[in-house]
């Protein structure tokens, strides 16, 4: 049994402009000790997917239209707020992108860590403090005792992100959800934080869902990858498959549009023309069809199903249909070049 199983998740938001269909039919699994990366552009629905897992979709504007979220076989969407609180922060916890707005500015950081312990583990105040100091040390911040007494504004961005991770890890969760944890950080600090997450996964066998738009980060830290576009999961595969045998034209576009540092020649970048779909009125067919070089008539009319292209690799593209014309795949083109 996998740790987390998301099945046909659909999330809508009602706004004055109409209903936004933010997540449409997303299904995936996370195994024990596995890092699953979700990649996609802004508006692709990656953050909303994990917010649904954390029970952060607020009614009445937000609505989970259908789907199941099974955590250790238990349906999270059926639980009461009270039952959910027993799981959130303890078994599933989350690190947000912007550490400045996610930490309480009027509360000492040490208190913010021990708060979690006091709530979930029923320890004494002294014990909670000792554990919190230990956590600060564990995430690599020197002078833990002094740091315990300081406020968020006294920390740098990278340090605050470590504090966020310390809070998330305080109860030894089974699943850590990290929503763009390094996007606001400089590369040298990003390397430190990614190293820290790597260590947690190895030492504690914690599963991680990592949201990012940086394919470099994906290559270095993920086991499995989910590519999202226009609220849909367009491709799901192992990290090796993503880079060696990508199937969906959107994934090809993404891989082509980033300059490779190890690339010697300065050839022109190949951007994906056009812009992402309007989620108020998403295209009738495949969300990527209007920007896709290979779009066929059917792509404009019908949403493709997920085709299995290899073991553990599925792609939502009609090019995999047996009736589709043969085109040179991405890897074949790469080899020819």
């Amino acid at each position: 049994m996998s740790l987390l199983k998301v099945n046909n998740l659909k999330v809508n938001f009602k706004t004055y402009g109409g209903t936004i269909r933010a997540v449409r039919n997303v299904s995936f699994e996370v195994d024990y000790g596995e890092t699953v990366a979700i990649v996609g552009e802004s508006g692709s629905g990656k953050s909303v997917t994990v917010q649904a897992i954390m029970g952060l979709i607020k009614k009445p504007a937000g609505e989970i239209e259908k789907g199941n979220i099974l955590f250790k076989g238990k349906e999270l969407l059926q639980l009461s707020q009270k039952q959910l609180r027993e799981i959130k922060g303890k078994q599933i916890s989350m690190v947000f992108q912007d550490s400045m707005t996610s930490l309480n500015p009027t509360m000492k950081v040490g208190k913010q860590i021990s708060e979690v312990l006091l709530y979930h583990q029923h320890v004494s105040k002294q014990e909670a403090k000792a554990r919190a100091i230990e956590m600060i040390k564990e995430v690599g911040i020197p002078n833990a005792e002094r740091r315990y007494e300081q406020y968020p504004h006294e920390f740098s961005g990278g340090m605050r992100q470590r504090i966020m991770i310390a809070i998330a890890l305080a109860c030894n969760p089974d699943l850590l959800i990290a929503d763009e944890p390094t996007t606001a950080l400089d590369v040298t600090i990003q390397a430190q934080v990614l190293g820290l997450l790597e260590g947690i996964k190895e030492n504690k066998n914690t599963s991680i869902i990592l949201i990012t738009h940086d394919l470099g980060v994906v290559a270095e830290s993920a086991d499995k990858v989910i590519v999202m576009y226009g609220g849909m999961m367009v491709e799901k595969c192992s990290v090796q498959e993503l880079f060696s045998n990508p199937n969906h034209p959107y994934t090809w576009g993404l891989l082509e549009s980033i300059p490779n540092v190890s690339n010697k020649d300065k050839e022109r970048l190949k951007p994906i023309e056009g812009s992402p779909p309007d989620l108020f009125s998403p295209p009738k067919g495949c969300p990527f069809a209007p920007r896709c070089k290979y779009a066929m008539d059917i792509c404009m009319e019908e949403v493709p199903r997920l085709y299995d292209v290899a073991d553990g690799h599925s792609s939502r593209c009609f090019l995999n249909d047996e009736m589709a014309p043969n085109i040179a795949t991405f890897s074949e083109v790469e080899e020819r070049v």
Binding site: E41, D214, G216, P271
Partner: protein, 317 residues
């Protein structure tokens, strides 16, 4: 080539905070930018790269040192000449949302510079606006629309059209693509590259995304805490970085290739010190894996160790 368009000599920009303290944002930089090149400027947040860009563009006067544009000291000009140089040096800002007036129509935003410098009137002015919109890949029908009706990438194109309207020679692009999505970044980068050739431009391209900078730049300068650490041709810098900071910075870039991922990475310890109270001697010494005794005593000289490859590090003196 190699005719310099910008020359800075020991440029410093300090900001006073409170009575006693001074932030040394830019602390003595001497470089040349050549006509027709793209000069990439990289560094972490707080390294002073944007301040340096603003100083070069004349948005702020240096505390010490001088900036020369085509041989003229830009801080010491007559009003008339200042006006001319203001037209020839332009900036593209990072956040297209914040840098476009939300209450102005796109056509008027673009025309502001044309009017201020009296470059065209009436029909010619109108045609010029249409032409600019087409050149940046927007439909000329959009002149009457407002900035909020556009996506981030399109707004950045409007910003670029506004910049081009006054026919500049030198453009400071301050993180022009950082706020955009990956698939849009490549579009804007290609546009900037095409315009450089068709309009005969020189760029100072400021960014923290090293792979993008490598792609667009001819030469790259690396800044740390207000100082230039290394400067070289871009292939040279990536293939053979000399300064320990550049080496660490390059090794920290995540590479989109899972077969390479388990490689030796130089992970720097700690974080950059405050520019209010920078370390003595070499500013990088507190995080440098090769720090020696001399590094705390003496600031290293900025010197050319190979042809067109400059660095400031005691390892090479």
């Amino acid at each position: 080539m190699n005719q310099e368009i910008i020359k800075t000599t020991n440029v410093k920009k300090h900001y006073a905070i409170g009575k006693q303290q001074v932030v040394r944002s830019v602390d003595g930089i001497s470089i040349d930018i050549y006509q027709g090149e793209t000069f990439g400027l990289v560094g972490e947040s707080g390294s002073g790269k944007s301040t340096f860009g603003k100083t070069i563009a004349g948005l702020t006067n240096p505390t010490d040192g001088s900036v020369y544009y085509e041989g003229n000291n830009v801080n010491n000009l007559s009003k008339k000449e200042r006006h001319r140089i203001n037209r020839e040096i332009q900036i593209i800002f990072q956040d297209p949302q914040a840098s476009l007036n939300p209450r102005m129509q796109v056509g008027d935003i673009i025309a502001e510079g044309i009017d201020a410098h009296g470059l065209a009137k009436g029909k010619a002015r109108k045609e010029r606006i249409y032409d600019l919109l087409e050149r940046v890949g927007l439909n000329p029908d959009v002149v009457k629309r407002y900035p909020h009706e556009f996506s981030g990438g399109q707004r950045q194109r409007i910003g670029i059209a506004r910049t081009l309207a006054v026919q500049p020679k030198f453009i400071v692009a301050d993180e022009p693509i950082s706020a955009l999505d990956v698939s849009i970044q490549a579009q804007v980068l290609n546009l900037l590259n095409d315009l450089k050739d068709s309009e005969d431009l020189t760029y100072l391209f400021i960014a923290h995304d090293l792979s993008m900078v490598k792609h667009i730049s001819d030469r790259i300068g690396v800044m740390y805490l207000g100082n230039m650490m290394e400067l070289a041709r871009s292939e040279q810098l990536f293939d053979n970085p000399k300064h320990p900071y550049t080496q660490a910075l390059l090794s920290a870039i995540p590479v989109p290739d899972p077969t390479l991922s388990k490689r030796d990475r130089i992970v720097l310890q700690g974080e950059p010190p405050s520019p209010v109270n920078p370390p003595s001697g070499c500013k990088f010494r507190t995080r440098c894996p090769h720090a020696m005794e001399i590094c705390s005593l003496e600031a290293p000289m900025w010197k050319e160790i190979h042809a067109d490859h400059w660095t400031a590090c005691h390892l090479y003196s």
